[in-house]
């Protein structure tokens, strides 16, 4: 690993002053569970690391009538165990609890989950986000078992964050802070499918810190369902997060967002439309699952993911209404 300068600020203000506006100069260090791996492989070679783990104001979960405020340093373990989150924001609790192994849930933070880099093995092997070799895209005819089935390129990696789809389904926003000020961005617009090698997969600028996640007051029923290969230490093959607003036993509004199937959390508008005015039954959930994958564009080796994504939508819907009138 390349040597670097280590900065250890104790306030957010000090921290943002240590970040450079150009890409590649500085990196924010939270739990380190992703960044350290990237540095070991020389995918990130920052000159300075800014450790944010000693910044008190980035801690804590606060629930109020208006919604939830989750500090960027809250760990996956804290999020998954929080009683309020489990009771009222189940899709989010499910997603956090799904992160494999206690060790990673203890160390990995929510900010780091949203900002983690894609796991595409071409990207991790040094071929860039668009995975090209001398201008030739490697994914469409390559080892694309775990790649995107939506979006149609030129980016074929899948967004790695399990929290992303749940937060999009719930209409959450993130607060991004730099030395020049702060802005709030909908999680939906935080993720980007890059069209060129110079664009990153999130809108976070190199001199910004994600300080908190803001989730509005919850939809009545929500859940996340993940399909994982065995129960191994790996990312899901496909997942779905749903949030339903009900009118009696009928769906008044549905948000259905699939994970690990596209470079961004993938909103299934057709499924949302199919659910409006329906009660959730095995049949309506299955129909919504089918609608969700209608316009999937699988690659040479990942057509199996279409079925998995469809089933994830169905099961997330059934899970969201389980035990509820």
């Amino acid at each position: 690993m390349q040597a670097f300068e280590y900065a250890n600020p104790s306030t957010l203000q000090e921290a943002v002053a240590l970040l450079a506006p150009q890409r590649g100069q500085t990196d924010v260090l939270a739990g380190g569970t992703d960044l350290i791996s990237l540095m070991k492989d020389y995918i990130h070679t920052p000159k300075r690391l800014v450790n944010i783990k000693n910044i008190q104001e980035l801690e804590g979960i606060r629930a109020s009538a208006g919604g939830l405020r989750i500090g960027a340093l809250v760990t996956m373990d804290e999020l998954a165990r929080n009683a309020e989150v489990r009771a009222s924001y189940k899709a989010l609790a499910d997603a956090a609890a799904g992160i494999p192994s206690p060790q990673i849930r203890h160390m990995g933070t929510v900010g780091g989950d949203l900002c983690q880099r894609p796991r595409c093995w071409y990207f991790r092997g040094g071929f860039g986000l668009l995975a090209t070799d001398n201008g030739k895209p490697l994914v469409p005819d390559g080892e694309n078992h775990y790649h995107a089935i939506f979006g149609g390129g030129p980016a074929y990696f899948v967004s790695a964050s399990s929290l992303g789809p749940a937060l999009v389904a719930m209409g959450a926003r993130v607060k991004l802070v730099s030395a020049k000020g702060s802005r709030e961005v909908a999680v939906k617009s935080f993720f980007v499918a890059p069209k060129d090698e110079n664009t990153r997969e999130i809108v976070l600028r190199p001199d910004e810190i994600l300080s908190e996640i803001l989730v509005p007051a919850p939809a009545v029923h929500s859940a996340t369902y993940e399909v994982r290969q065995k129960e191994a230490l790996d990312w899901p093959l496909a997942a779905a997060s749903v949030a339903l607003t009900m009118k009696g036993s009928v769906v008044a509004g549905a948000k259905v967002v699939m994970g690990h199937v596209a470079p961004i959390p993938w909103e299934a508008a057709a499924a949302e439309k199919a659910l409006a005015g329906k009660t959730i039954t095995a049949a309506s959930a299955e129909a919504a699952g089918k609608a969700a994958v209608e316009d999937a564009q699988p690659l040479s080796r990942n057509a199996y993911k279409v079925q998995l994504a469809s089933v994830a939508v169905k099961r997330a819907l059934l899970e969201a209404v389980k035990g509820k009138a």
């Binding site: 569970t33 450790n51 129960e231």
Partner: protein
Amino acid sequence: MKRKISLRINGKPYTDEVEPRLLLIHYLREVAGLTGPHIGCETSICGACTVMLQGRAVKSCTMFAVQADGREIVTIEGLAANGALDPVQQAFWNEHGLQCGFCTPGMIMATKQLLQDNPSPTDLEIRHGLEGNLCRCTGYQHIVNAVKAAAGKAGA
């Protein structure tokens, strides 16, 4: 440039000058001389390097030593008190929860965590609690038996 870190390991204070890129596992093994935590994969998969940081199990191969500054670490060496094995260590011994023993320090630390959070786990909960730890000898059934035996002790 080296940084000064001060931390407690197994209840004892340590102060050292380290390079920021030094991983905690290398600090523990090579600077502090605690070779109980092992290095299997160094990519946060196998769990052989598991230690407690502020009372929570973490993988010390995917963490810098500087991140432990001011913190409390417990390694496998910190479990036995006054020459007597910790109940989890004793249970691994009694139930043959190890073969070559390479994964064992990590398995035991992960088990400590599991039983702290869930004193009487089911078989499935044990397997989930240990999903961050691999045994290359694949003696998982005896490991699960050992965890169950340790849980029985803790509850008794």
